[in-house]
């Protein structure tokens, strides 16, 4: 579906920020918005809900980028639609900064040591560290994988492999093309495990 510009947010060359808050009606204070994020993503940004990703310690740019893409309808996540639709650029910057500054804590899911070991070898051959860095902490537009939830990682990896999700640069689709479910699981267990 193409979303035509029902917002006629006109920005002159001298005004910053593309979409003024007024175009979206009354926005609640950003602290309230952050609190509502925490309902699912965890009070400290470390999710304890299945398939809900942790936001704590993610690169600030990554969070900013994804929130804009969700708001604009490029990355469509049904559960997020009502939450992000009216965020202003300033809200998004504040939310990104907040969660980037929280400490990433280990997931409460059990980690299978054998799978993690195998995942480590796989990660080497797939060169995950090339973009996500050796300790998988992420950078800029590239997310942190270390201490992310296992179930969420498996789901994201499957979506990339099966082409039902494209990242900002489609590199992930290419990186995991043809990787088996078992191997994706091993990668997820490795990524979640505390990095040496």
């Amino acid at each position: 579906m193409v979303l035509t510009a029902t917002r006629t947010a006109v920005v002159t060359a001298s005004i910053l920020g593309l979409i003024p808050a007024a175009a979206f009606g009354q926005a609640s204070p950003v602290t309230e918005r952050i609190a509502s994020c925490s309902t699912c993503h965890g009070e400290d940004g470390n999710s304890r809900l299945a398939n809900v990703p942790s936001l704590a310690g993610q690169p600030e740019f990554f969070l900013l980028n994804q929130l804009v893409l969700m708001r604009d309808g490029v990355r469509m996540i049904p559960a997020m639609v009502p939450v992000v639709g009216d965020l202003t650029d300033a809200d998004i910057q504040a939310i990104a900064s907040h969660f980037a500054g929280r400490e990433a804590r280990a997931s409460d899911e059990p980690i299978d040591a054998n799978m993690a070991t195998r995942g480590r070898e796989l990660a080497k051959s797939l060169r995950c560290g090339s973009c996500h860095l050796a300790n998988l902490q992420g950078r800029q537009q590239i997310p942190r994988l270390a201490r992310q939830r296992i179930d969420y990682l498996i789901r994201a990896l499957r979506d990339y492999r099966d082409g039902t999700r494209a990242g900002a640069d489609t590199l992930m689709n290419n990186a995991v093309a043809g990787v088996s479910d078992a191997d994706l699981g091993a990668l997820a267990h490795y990524a979640t495990a505390p990095q040496p």
């Binding site: 579906m1 193409v2 979303l3 035509t4 510009a5 029902t6 917002r7 006629t8 947010a9 006109v10 920005v11 002159t12 060359a13 001298s14 005004i15 910053l16 920020g17 593309l18 979409i19 740019f61 900013l64 980028n65 804009v68 893409l69 604009d72 309808g73 490029v74 650029d89 998004i92 910057q93 051959s125 797939l126 060169r127 560290g129 090339s130 973009c131 860095l133 050796a134 950078r139 800029q140 537009q141 590239i142 492999r161 099966d162 082409g163 494209a166 900002a168 640069d169 489609t170 590199l171 689709n173 290419n174 093309a177 043809g178 990787v179 088996s180 479910d181 078992a182 191997d183």
Partner: protein, 415 residues
């Protein structure tokens, strides 16, 4: 109940062999279009293995932080900020009434930048598309190409507030749906046909030559597809020489085999040789065989480039200059925006160069520089596309800063 028709024995053998191969590898086959070959040996690259593509900010740079003062140009040329507030804006086409439409990649937006006598206003015209980089204008209609989708918005400049539903020509064009290297560049040729590219769906791999690594042309309704160039890794910029009418295109070289290339290319499609082969994936630049994808005589029958445009520089937009504002020596040169390297330890590009054409060869020389700080190995902006205006000035889009620059010339201006 009908009995299923018997299948030949060879079919069963083929199935068994396929199942066996999958079982042995313990992997499902890759989705259509992706190749598991695309994993170059890390040791072989001799590069910093943590190089990664640069991020494109989804929020515009405030005007006072746009790096206008960094830009330098040859004597007599001046640069000014034409517009801003369109984050990620790349491709530019101008409507008959002077509206500049800009395409983006990951942000999924198309912008309309309206000229109100001296000031410009940018607005989001469309959003939620997948990488709508391909824009073309004909008879007041805006053609938007987003991967495989082809949408036509008629009378667009009178409907900027509400473009309405487009004419959807996706089925007629039948473009492949894979996203990788498949964001479009599109332009109308002198023959009135719509030219589009279909890039290689990998960094380096065997592609289906019937689908990928091509430049194609179509009639306006999507019929009559012809392949104009083959073996093209990923061109996202082309234009026609104003005198010869021949097609010239930039092409981005592969990654992960070294800092020095293979270099990006400027190519020419010789009149009467439409459909010629430009080398991908076997042969790069001026005859470099690929180390991963091999065949006997890799460069046999390959059209060599008219010029090399630099290692990993990502030469994107190219437009020939026919205006009269710039000095006579710029008549019929091509301006090329070099988006800037990521797969190179010492960054290169982040500028606009001039290609001076002499027959089938071209000479590349610097034009707009300064956005790359070579010493700090940092960049301040990424020129993506160029657009010559009717008055002879030149627009340059900067994807990183969400800005357009306008370059003018005045003989008496000096430095």
């Amino acid at each position: 109940m009908t009995t299923p028709s018997p299948r030949p024995l060879s079919w069963f053998i083929a199935v068994l062999v396929t199942i066996g191969a999958i079982a042995v590898r313990g992997q499902a086959p890759p989705p259509p279009g992706f190749s598991p070959i695309d994993r170059t040996n890390e040791a072989q690259s001799k590069q910093d293995a943590t190089l990664a593509p640069h991020a494109t900010p989804p929020i515009a740079t405030p005007v006072d932080r746009i790096p206008l003062d960094k830009i330098s140009l040859p004597s007599g040329f001046k640069v000014e900020l034409y517009s801003s507030g369109h984050p990620g804006g790349r491709t530019m086409v101008m409507g008959p009434k002077g509206t500049v439409f800009m395409g983006t990649r990951q942000l999924g937006r198309v912008y309309a930048v309206v000229n109100n006598g001296g000031t410009r206003a940018a607005r989001v015209l469309l959003q939620g598309l997948t990488q709508p980089n391909g824009l073309a204008i004909r008879d007041g209609s805006l053609y938007v190409l987003a991967i495989n989708r082809v949408l036509r918005y008629d009378d667009i400049e009178n409907k900027l507030d509400n473009p309405g539903m487009p004419v959807d020509m996706t089925q007629a064009f039948n473009l492949p749906t894979e996203v990788h290297h498949n964001w479009k560049y599109a332009a109308f040729g002198p023959d009135g046909k719509l030219y589009v590219q279909v890039g290689a769906n990998c960094n380096i791999c065997e592609v289906n030559p019937g689908i990928h690594s091509q430049i194609r042309r179509y009639n306006l309704d999507g019929s009559g597809m012809e392949i104009v160039a083959r073996g093209v890794r990923n061109t996202v910029g082309f234009d026609w020489h104003p005198v010869t009418g021949e097609l010239w295109f930039t092409d981005n070289g592969r990654d992960w085999i070294g800092n020095e290339g293979p270099q990006d290319e400027l190519n020419r499609v010789v009149r009467g040789q439409e459909g010629a082969f430009y080398g991908f994936p076997y042969c790069h630049a001026e005859g470099i065989p690929d180390p991963d994808i091999r065949r006997p005589q890799p460069c046999a029958g390959v059209v060599m480039p008219a010029a090399l445009t630099g290692p990993h520089v990502a030469a994107l937009g190219i437009r020939f200059y026919t205006g009269t504002m710039f000095p006579q020596s710029y008549r019929n040169v091509a301006f090329i925006a070099r988006h800037g390297s990521w797969n190179r330890e010492q960054k290169s590009g982040f500028d606009v160069v001039v290609a001076r054409i002499d027959g089938g060869r071209a000479r590349i020389e610097p034009f707009m520089t300064g956005l790359l700080d070579a010493k700090a190995n940092e960049f301040h902006g990424r020129p993506s596309y160029v657009l010559p205006l009717e008055d002879g000035s030149l627009l340059v889009s900067d994807e990183t800063n969400g800005a357009m620059y306008r370059i003018t010339y005045s003989a008496g201006a000096g430095r």
